[in-house]
């Protein structure tokens, strides 16, 4: 692994994320924080869409449920942040495993529809579930930031924790891609029936990857909403963000770690530019939609696919 150039590209990326806000200040940190969250969502969604070929339209449910459970653990049960992170990730991963064994019996469009149903069912359940604060959600009191040394320090710590989750997402995507397990997933993506006849235990593989792809987004959800100070169901389970994660993946190129990471980063920058620009702020959705349509129609391989077509070198370096 240490001899592969792409491993060092990943290391350099993480170092850049750590160093840049230390010199650039809080403004840079805020932008990079959101970019890192987007990259985490795209990288983990890539495990399903890019590696396994299953279009998960509802990946946001991991992020939202992780956030909800984590914030509940912190505010109501008084858990420290680290325990809430692990607890939320474990519960979400187990739920995803059970759910995955069920809904992954569906293929293609049916699976995509079911994942939308899962988001909406979870959102409406959480909105009605009083322990989670119902539709108004939960607020984090200042005292919750105290163990981290106060709100200012907490923001820095949460930032570095998100970067740690980002690093883990990069490494996870990279290691699965180069593993025997990953080879089985690719076989499922290309032809599930053929894969099973070659000995790949498709139902189990799919449920495991669905569950694995939920862990780090759940942690990102805890951190995002902990920093946010409030979590509301409408915001935590926003189907649009789920689909934006797919857009990021398409933009960068599905199936590659590099593409997913680049797509998440580029999309955040692009969105930030549209939202702040005087001309485009009213039309950011229109422009994002037009961009998506152009990618789908004319460059379905995304940026990585486009690079691979021109230089065979990138195919070997960018994984």
């Amino acid at each position: 692994m240490l001899k592969k150039p792409f491993f060092w590209i990943m290391v350099a990326t993480v170092i850049a994320f750590v160093v840049m806000p230390i010199f650039g200040g809080i403004g840079v940190r805020e932008s990079l924080f959101l970019a890192a969250v987007y990259m985490i969502l795209a990288l983990n969604l890539n495990l399903m869409i890019g590696y396994t070929g299953y279009v998960n339209f509802g990946s946001i449910v991991f992020f939202g449920l992780g956030g909800t459970l984590g914030i509940y653990a912190i505010t109501v049960m008084g858990w420290p942040l680290w325990a809430a992170l692990i607890g939320a990730a474990v519960v979400v991963a187990l739920l995803a495993l059970l759910l995955g064994l069920g809904i992954l019996r569906l293929r293609g469009a049916y699976f995509a529809l079911a994942t939308i149903g899962v988001v909406e069912a979870t959102k409406s359940f959480v909105s009605n579930f009083d322990p989670f604060g119902g539709s108004t959600g939960m607020y984090i009191s200042f005292s919750s930031y105290k163990p981290l040394g106060g709100p200012r320090e907490a923001l820095w710590i949460v930032y570095f924790l998100v970067i740690a989750v980002l690093a883990a997402s990069l490494l996870l995507g990279y290691m699965i891609k180069r593993s025997r397990f990953g080879l089985g997933l690719f076989a499922i993506r290309e032809d599930e029936d053929a894969a099973m006849v070659l000995g790949v235990k498709a139902p189990l593989f799919k449920a495991i990857i669905y569950s694995v792809s939920s862990i780090l987004p759940a942690m990102a959800g805890v951190l995002f909403f902990f920093k946010n100070g409030v979590i509301q169901p409408d915001q935590a389970f926003e189907l649009t963000l789920s689909i934006e994660a797919i857009v990021m993946l398409m933009l960068g190129g599905q199936g590659t770690v590099f593409g997913a990471a680049l797509g998440g980063f580029a999309y955040e920058q692009f969105r930030g530019y549209l939202l702040t620009s005087a001309t485009f702020s009213n039309f950011h959705l229109v422009i994002a939609g037009a961009l998506l349509l152009l990618i789908v129609l004319f460059a379905p391989g995304g940026l990585t696919g486009w690079l691979h077509e021109r230089w065979s070198l990138t195919r070997r370096v960018l994984e």
Binding site: G184, F186, A187, R189, E190, A195, V197, L198, G199, V200
Partner: protein, 251 residues
Amino acid sequence: MTHLINVEGVSKRFSGVQAVNGVSFYMDEGEILGLIGPNGAGKTTLFNLVSGVIPPDEGRVTMLGEDITGMAPYNVVNRGLARTHQIVKPLNDMTVLENVTVGACFGREKLQLGKAREHALKVLHTVGLADRKDVLAVHLTIAGKKRLEVARALAGNPRLLLLDEVLAGLNPTEVAGMIEVIRTVRKETGIGILMIEHLMQAVMSLSDRVMVLNFGELLATGTPEEVANHPHVVEAYLGDPNMAEKLMARQ
């Protein structure tokens, strides 16, 4: 004695059509059994029933004494049964080597990735695809894809190989090449091979025994010579009463 595979009275209906009806047969290690019959006789369905792709309505399939009836295909592979597809199913966006490595990784031996790759290379040499190992499977010719099917199935070191029309659609040179591959496989590994084939001379020359399926039922089983002279087979399938002589003469 326990046979390599023993199939007892398997049947399958599809919405009113009896695709396979009470078929029984057995095979032993090192044996090549040819399966012939007109289109729609239920040959591929029988393959699907044996390899776990479709569970049978009735009947029993045992492998080396173990009941594998209705097992999921990946578990059947685990017991050492591998198959190819009549309509080839290459893993398109993966290289030839990766395709075969999948077979090696998840076949009977469950090799680790590095070992699997080495083994896959060996198998690619056997089937004559070694020079194309880095090509994406989608870019292979039809003959190449058929060889890939065989290579993937072989890579898991099966005890029994089911070949579904691996010669169909190939030109005479390619047919000769593929027959050579099958002979090599039998010589080098000594596994059992069950092959569906329409190309009569090939079946008759390769097989130790031949069975004939018609309307889902077993019409006859025996040596190539016996089968070719069997009156029912001549009537149902070969059509020409002199066909048997012609086939035997070609050998």
